[in-house]
Amino acid sequence: MTAILEASGVTKRFGGLVAVGNLDFEMEHGSIASVIGPNGAGKTTFFNCISGFFHIDEGRITFEGDEIHRLRPDQISHLGISRTYQNTRLFPTMTALENILVGEHQHLRATWLGAVVGTRRQRDEEVRALEEARRLLTFVGLRGQGDMLAAKLPYGDQRRLEVARALAGRPRLLLLDEPTAGMNPSETLAMTEFIRRLRGELGMSILLIEHEMRVVMGISDRITVLDYGLKIAEGTPREIQGDPRVIEAYLGRSASVDVSAAGPAGPDPASPSPGAA
């Protein structure tokens, strides 16, 4: 297997603060990788560097062998990286369906003149885009909600809509920033299943930031642990669970009980008891 995403020596500073320091990171095609760490460890900053919101100060990031750290966010998106946000950021006064259609943007070719004249190509493209959007809506379980304004959807549905919008870009790498934040145990379980389906059915590589240890340990192939912007550990869920530095920095404080409760990571762990979280 080759690396889909590779970061070497990535450093991002804000004034005197080193948000991400000399980070080396690699993830394989078709894998699910997680970045964990306490609050303020630099996880989201790392995401923002990958998706082009921040320009890194040192190092390089490559996606499928191409350097991406000098590109604009829209160019990076065109290469095949989509993302979601820690606090859902939908287009609030557009409908759910329109949100997904924006996600398809980069695969549509219509020019403004074509749209005004209403060329056959443009119309066919719109029909196909709409079909695809409806399909995605059904895929994330929002069938029938398509004409609702995004802002009026319940919280859980908003998160799923955000994933649908990201999927509409047909990415090969999907960045999920705390996909289960604010979800109750059964919603969390559903989201975990959903992420697994994304990899299984769509063959996507997925990189996620996650706080919920049950999710992380359950679905990750590899885990990277950040603390104060530095990588302190890396490995399979089992290795991470046993790593004393991780336990000290992060897990030792509150989550170690959760980790042991989650049990060994496997492709399909017996569904964890919902009450433990």
């Binding site: 998706s51 993302r83 609030p92 329109e98 943007h105 980069q106 219509a110 749209a115 719109e126 004409d147």
Partner: protein, 580 residues
Amino acid sequence: MTAAVATRTTGLRAWQPVIRFGLIGGVVGLYLCLVGIVPTFDERPLVAGVISLGQASLLLTALATGYLAATRAPSARRGVEIAAGALAGGLGGSFLAALVLIGLGLGVNLRAVLLHASPELYDTLTLGLGVSGFWVPIVLGAVCGSLAALTASLPASIRLPIVWGFTAVVVMGLFAGLLRTPSLTTPVAPLARFLFAPEGLTVAGAVIVFAIGAGAAILRPRAVPRRRYAALPESRRKVVLRAGVLLLVATVLVLPLGLGSFFAQVVAIVAIYVLMGFGMNITLGLAGLLDLGFVAFFAVGAYTVGLLTSTGEFGLAGWPWLAAVPFAVLFAMAFAAFLGLPILRIRGDYLAIATLGFGEIVRIMAGSDLLKAWLGGPQGILNIPKPIAVGPDSFLAGPVQIYYIALACAVVVAFVAWRLRGSRLGRSWMAIREDEDVAEATGVNLVQTKLLAYMLGGAFAGLGGAVFAGLVGSIFASSMQLFVSINVVALVVVGGMGSNPGVVVGAIVLIGLPELFREFAEYRFLFYGVALIAMMLYRPEGLLPSRVTRRELYSADELEAVAESEIAVAVPAASQEAGR
């Protein structure tokens, strides 16, 4: 329910809302007097020989005060309501009485500061009785207040005809002069003379108009038209819809005919603003770019047409108007690209300020000595031919042809905007409006997409300028005022951002009405301010907000479940609104 409340909160507390309305009414009355609305409007009769517009504005304030006070009276009994109306009206009137006492009685020279506190104003307030008539506003206020309260307490079957009748008299009184002048040359002239005085209604006219208004209220369809329409079967609904559209189109087409060239000029200007509003709806409504330099592109369009078509001193080619228009649009578009590239990286408020600056720069450059040799400086470009050459007797002579041209252009612009809105481009504009960063991360090229919105807005402003040049026949740098930009933004905001019908309504309210009532031009911006504040308070989404486009197309069995879930969501949304 009100009665039950009254037994619990008796005494002064229960009268608080009434007193508050009285105080508000008094302040409004005082304001109307001192900013000069009453003295200015006093010169214009509403019903000739009976009541002037200035007096009417005060009486209407008293009526409104009484009516509102009655709805908040401590008890629903008619006597209490009338007392509330009288109290509020009288309290309001006492403000004006105080003004008379201070100005006339104590001889304080209010005019040193308040220019409009003139002897004529005191005469109006006291009905010519001087300081000894200081009680007049109190009594009149109380009488009007109690009459309004009485009306409010009557059952709807009597109340509505009275309200409609009075509204009809006020509205017709305002428009009487405008309707009378053109009809004097037509066979209906005797009727017009009978109903309308040179300004305002005749007494007979007022009675007839009141009767018509009241009659309309009595005969109005019992069921709400919209509900009736919804109850019709599909095929009938289509027929009704088509008939409605045809009627609307016909009205729009005959609008400028037969009402005289003044009215035609006004509707032509409204049509030009509608056309520019449609353009602004792309830039501001869809892409969310607040462009306060719209007039720059308007100027480019106007000057291009002027230079290419003028037969005067600065004319370059002497082309027909129609040949020059495409160039006006293209130049405006190119100019927008030229301005847009450096400034579109700026966000939000800063963009507004930068574009504001460009608008002013263009105006000053156009009038400057530097470009005088080409653009004529302050003298401007004269002798721009009319778009369509016709004899002076043709029905297309004068502003009427401009109206049709502007209308045709507006239809084209609306079509373009509508098509774009539903396309990939329209969606990326909306996405940028909602969240620029996320739009970019979703693959939208910000600079390119914004620039296109800016250029299309500029193109339509240029088209507006081209039509404007054809309307007035001469271009001056002084016509390229900031107000053009402000007008366009304001009418989009008032009408409803992103909504094209809203633009039409906004243009009629903000451009058409002030143009029709030129004699009150002084108060145009007061009217603007009040309208904008009221809009922001009570209808921030605009008069006719754009509707959510429905595109998921439910299958029949899903419809029911969806309707339920929509109700479930609508409830918390409504309660949120109430909470704000």
